[in-house]
Amino acid sequence: MNLSKKDMLGVMDLPKEEIDLILDTAESFKEISTRTIKKVPTLRGKTVITLFFEASTRTRTSFEIAAKRLGADTINISASTSSVVKGESLIDTARNLESMNPDIIIIRHSAAGAAHILGSMLKQSIINAGDGAHEHPTQALLDMLTIREKKGTIEGLKIAIVGDIAHSRVARSNIYGLTKMGADVAVCGPAMMMPRDIDQMGVSVYYKMEDAIKDADVVMMLRMQLERQEKNLFPSLREYANLFSLNRDNIRLAKDDVIVMHPGPVNRGVEITPEIADGPHSVILEQVTNGVAVRMALLYLLSGGIK
């Protein structure tokens, strides 16, 4: 089976069977990262460019490691060191990169739809590594892999996503993916941080943390985007932490074998207390490990064209 599109732009348009295919493939790829020689020759001679207009440690490194372990050559471009600082437009940058004949371009950009623009303009496969508050498909896929691994299935699980839902591309991609896989998804956060179209997303909406995480199999905490604090979406960090942080008291409301997830970077003491982030329920670092496998699977499945 193949993916039906040349690009990976989001989970919204991704059929369930293709999600299964990516997760199954990723599961087999995990083993490669445990070898002494962590490299296979599959993408030998292919060139992968990461084009990051926003800060990132995990995602960019994860993509680069994934590409390298498959034998591809990688080039990393970050906006601060590129001609973007000289005023070059996204489209011009992309056209110039295309002229050097890469095979896959991975892009992160603060504007929603940036990856879609490249996808429709270039013949190369484009992978969206985050576009504004829109989608971050590889994060959702690695989250789904982690859940499936820990729980055996996604279908029928009660999954709570807590935090700034409106500004979170991680939440959006996960909502699309998890509901498609048959999970019962609850979202929770301050009313100011709920997207307007939340009612159309097939999730239940809560404004009280305790209600959302009650009996949950999975609690996914979102990063409080501190850079947005100036917009006064909430009065103070302290108040936010009092109402919406996951701590040793409220975690008891969830199931005994609940897993706690976070896409990183973690604001310790804001959305999650350190004892929970480092505690026995936390799978935060396994998410990172799975990220490499999911990205390897995608690079493999998108290479060599589609049919």
Partner: protein, 178 residues
């Protein structure tokens, strides 16, 4: 119209595997540092059975693994569909080991080439030997098997399939025109 002919039945397969098990032991002078690795998918159950036989004969457990060679194939990105990747399970270094790779049918030799490349990423084996149930000829690479169940000269227009089932009484090797 497809014509189907059974060229090896369950008893035949069983006898071939018994002989190969003894040959492997004879050639390697026992089970020291011996590892049996089945190539996905066709070689896995054969390797499993060889391991059982060798363990029974020598009254000792031997190391065993499975290998998916897809990522090492020379046509992995040029075939229309991305081949499905299955799990590789080799949880031990192959340094100084005597590795017997097992597959059902030896044909062009390309799978074996890929398998050898893959094994080199798990260490430096002392030697690699190849055991196959059927050698059907038509080699495209300079590769030969060390242990062969049966040599079956075939035409390129024929398919040979080794059907091994959980119920071993109905195992068979069939040859059919494609």
């Amino acid at each position: 119209m497809k014509k189907k002919q059974v060229v090896m039945d369950a008893d035949g397969i069983e006898r071939s595997l018994t002989r190969i098990a003894y040959e492997i032991l004879e050639r390697n002078k026992g089970t020291d540092n011996l590892i049996i690795i089945g190539i996905r998918k066709g070689g896995v159950s054969l390797a499993e059975r060889l391991r059982e036989k060798i363990s029974t004969i020598e009254k000792t457990e031997i190391m065993y693994g499975t290998l998916d060679i897809t990522l090492y194939r020379d046509d992995v990105l040029t075939t229309g569909k991305r081949p499905e990747i299955e799990k590789t399970y080799i949880p031990f270094p192959l340094d100084h080991k005597r590795v017997v790779i097992v597959d059902d049918v030896l044909f062009t030799g390309r799978t074996v080439r890929a398998a050898m490349d893959a094994l080199m990423d798990f260490g430096r084996p002392e030697l690699i030997q190849l055991a196959v149930l059927i050698d059907r000829g038509h080699r495209e690479f300079p590769i030969r098997a060390d242990f062969i169940g049966e040599t079956l000269p075939s035409s390129l227009w024929e398919n040979i399939s080794v059907n091994l089932l959980d119920n071993r009484d109905i195992d068979e090797v069939v040859i059919e025109e494609s």
